[in-house]
Symmetry: C2
Subunit: 341 residues, 2 copies
Amino acid sequence: MIAFGILGLFGAGQGFAQTDLLERARQQFKPIPAEAPALPGNPASPEKVELGKMLYFDPRLSASHAISCNSCHDLGRGGADEHSTSIGHHWQHGARNSPTVLNAVFNTAQFWDGRAKDLEEQAGGPLVNPVEMASAKAHVVEQLQGIPGYVDAFKKAFPNDKDPLSLANAQKAIAVFEATLITPNAPFDRFLQGDANALTAEQKDGLTLFLDKGCSACHNGINVGGGMYMPFGVVEKPGAEFLPPEDKGRFAVTNTPSDKYVFKVPTLRNIALTRPYFHTGKSWDLRQAVAVMGTSQLGAKLNDSEIDRITAFLGSLTGDQPKITYPVLPPSVTATTRPEP
Amino acid sequence: MIAFGILGLFGAGQGFAQTDLLERARQQFKPIPAEAPALPGNPASPEKVELGKMLYFDPRLSASHAISCNSCHDLGRGGADEHSTSIGHHWQHGARNSPTVLNAVFNTAQFWDGRAKDLEEQAGGPLVNPVEMASAKAHVVEQLQGIPGYVDAFKKAFPNDKDPLSLANAQKAIAVFEATLITPNAPFDRFLQGDANALTAEQKDGLTLFLDKGCSACHNGINVGGGMYMPFGVVEKPGAEFLPPEDKGRFAVTNTPSDKYVFKVPTLRNIALTRPYFHTGKSWDLRQAVAVMGTSQLGAKLNDSEIDRITAFLGSLTGDQPKITYPVLPPSVTATTRPEP
């Protein structure tokens, strides 16, 4: 315990001048911008964003009419839920922990294994996954076509399309809405923008450790992650609780042997809001997750003081949460398809 | 069909002057006020309403952390869902159709059988119902106490309480939030307030029929219902699909033989948004529900034209839906109780 105390007094970060730390940080990270980024080939309009928001919150996209995008990517809870794996159709569980939708637009690809290249492609996945929303593709369109308010809303969102109401356009609208779900103005962003007081001394120490220990080799860029693929357990395999042998990660996408147990490096943005952690969702404790990363990815047994400071730094990644006006959805009418019983 | 045409031309309402119709309507109905009503013994404050909103949207009040008040009383869908009976814990179904929370504050009691005297009492029901949210009473408090943001929010909402975080106070907060969920400014309200053009000619005909046929004997007052109990099938029992023999309604509350198959007369406010209909939720078609009411409650076989006009009038009961800023919920921390697996 004395050793920890000494480390606390002479922590790794305290030898560097603040300007040095800022310069080092700016080489690795970028702040979240204030405005939603544009999506290539899918220009935003207020009508398209509004349609996307309605679809995001509408449980009628699921076979049961009980599960919406927001059920598992809850915009009131860091864009995720708190289940190890989310509860889906008929109370089945998904295969991996629900990742946050917040700032997902900045990830290099979507899903833990990167099997969707962007938000638009991702949005089509859970809709038809039998353990998630469990809709048939044709059913989604039939369902929406039976709701007059959606027929109008698609026309307004896609004014130049001959056939505006389609699954592809639903995915486009959801994607432009999701691109608005960014969280600027985290203490760490303000630090990157030059406010030296935006981080506490402990958070600055944690940032220094994050850089020195090598965390930022993978968790870097605008999303402090989300930009590359790495094997989980590159130095030492964590226990089967965190890395069960049957989920081979990106190998299932690429069929390349070196992709076994490779996953997309997750964003650490808003990580304090999005427990539980790892693709299994089996760690409820951010400090534990930091420790596991140390041993499995860096071959470093972090001590309690280091874990505290890195965890404090991670707390500085919580940004302004999106302000959402809950959508009033277009009502079903007699001709609208009913939920399955 | 000729007969219907003649009835259409010389419909029951058309012989009355509009001022007469307005006077008759004002004797039976009152408009929804612009402001939320005060609750006796439970004064509102901005902090209490905000806390109530957070609790209303928070799935962590359920054992699974997957079901919130809003899951079945969706503020984007008329304050209800579209299931005959809602999907609850482990995909079980509730016993009766989920009634709308909108304007529920104006009902004389809560639940289809009136077993809760007010919103505050009602809010405690689904929380602990094993087929709904399935929490244990003690668990709700333990869960909330493990979330630091809630500890603060209860202190602010109940500043004079020695023990602010309690299940009773959670129910009070939810009740004051729900009291804000009112829908003023429906066309019918504007008509009652003197705007003769707020209803179409067909809707005025429908209102006249609604008065003449006797619908308003039960569906009256501010909520066009919600003010009394009546047997379903008072003239003629509807089929078992709509009135299954095993659900004896209010009899289970009072144990009074005359209360067999007695239910609270439901509000017709926003009825066009809240299909399906009846306590069984077995009618998806508002016109069908109107016809069944005619035969079962009034002994009147309404013709198609009458049903059309009454249904048109019911459409005038859709008011301004509450504008809700989706709450950012206080985050769980390591010490917070996890959802059941």
